[in-house]
Symmetry: C2
Subunit: 207 residues, 2 copies
């Protein structure tokens, strides 16, 4: 891998240097020197120096050793996640859960007012579960989108193309839970329940 050939990451090449800056920042906040951190983490000064300056392409093990000494998780230095569905929507992955029958990914989404977004079909059996916090959003399968306002919960099967479009002049804030069922000989386990409906505000609230 000479250069980030086809890395679609927003700050692909700046990625390494961003991690370096973040680590240097964390280290300086804690008031310890490069030499000291290198000693504590059990890595060479050359390694840490190159890492902080973005001139090296560090190893997972190196990153673990360093971030553990800084008392933070690796996740906090590599950024929280990528943009989910293209350009209009800004979304970051907050957390991923791995359960017996499926993997869940929780995203925080912000749709700028007036934006719309078409997302291609996911793999079979994948479902999306969206809760709107603010604004008005029309989302769901491209042919039969659903309308959701603050507090509303919508869900649909995302193995077909689906859309997101804001209504009104307000930014839309929402959380999106994507469920990837574990494949069993090519066919997914059934979803939690049959999606394709709208729960009025509060009905799907956890607490």
């Amino acid at each position: 891998m000479t250069s980030g050939a086809q890395n679609p990451y927003p700050t692909a090449d700046a990625g390494t240097s961003h991690v370096g800056r973040r680590i240097r920042s964390l280290r300086e906040e804690r008031g310890i020197s490069l030499s000291e951190l290198a000693r504590r983490a059990g890595v060479g000064k050359a390694t840490l120096s190159g890492l902080e300056n973005g001139t090296r392409n560090p190893t997972l093990e190196t990153l673990w050793a360093v971030t553990a000494q800084l008392g933070v998780g690796l996740a906090s230095v590599v950024g929280t996640g990528p943009v989910v569905h293209g350009t209009a929507v800004q979304g970051v992955l907050l957390q991923a859960f791995e359960e017996e029958g499926a993997t869940y990914e929780l995203y925080r989404l912000v749709f700028p007012a007036g934006s719309s977004q078409l997302s291609p079909a996911h793999h079979q059996g994948v479902t999306e579960h969206l809760t709107v916090f603010a604004g008005l959003l029309r989302a769901g399968p491209a042919d039969t989108p659903l309308l959701a306002g603050p507090g509303d919960y919508v869900t649909w099967r995302s193995d077909v193309p689906h859309t997101y479009a804001t209504l009104g002049d307000q930014d839309v804030h929402a959380s999106l839970l994507i469920r990837y069922p574990r494949l069993r000989n090519g066919l997914p386990d059934g979803p939690v329940r049959e999606p394709g409906e709208v729960s009025p505000r509060g009905a799907a609230s956890g607490r």
Copy 2:
């Protein structure tokens, strides 16, 4: 770094293989083969095979290339964060924010009923901001801890040793925001406001 010599990570050695399992899992959920993912990500099949099986110690660039093709952030495969303060409390870093004057780290904490925890002093100027969701918790400076119930918000300067102890027979769920002010010639900028008080429930609610 021959072996995870002094890596205090809970699953230090299992870390690499955990990342590999997670990536394999994500790949299989999407129904694409190892060869195909390697091709799309622009990495060698040998690299991806070794990565998924935990027999290699992948590079940051490799991880980026692969996770980007899987449509997830690097953070989602390396786990969300480390245990915060030792053994009793289970805590994961949800997100880290980098602002002009300070860095913030947001943790999700669960204290098992009956547990208590002593945490050493942080660097000067560091403050902790804790919101209790469920249960009853006594937390704060070791000499003058504060009491907080569901909905309560407590804050203190953590440049002295501080404690956490549950009250009652209920697990305590809470969020903890740690603020690391940026150092200016060795001295931190002032904290947001003078901490050391308790806000009654609701007073500090974000939403």
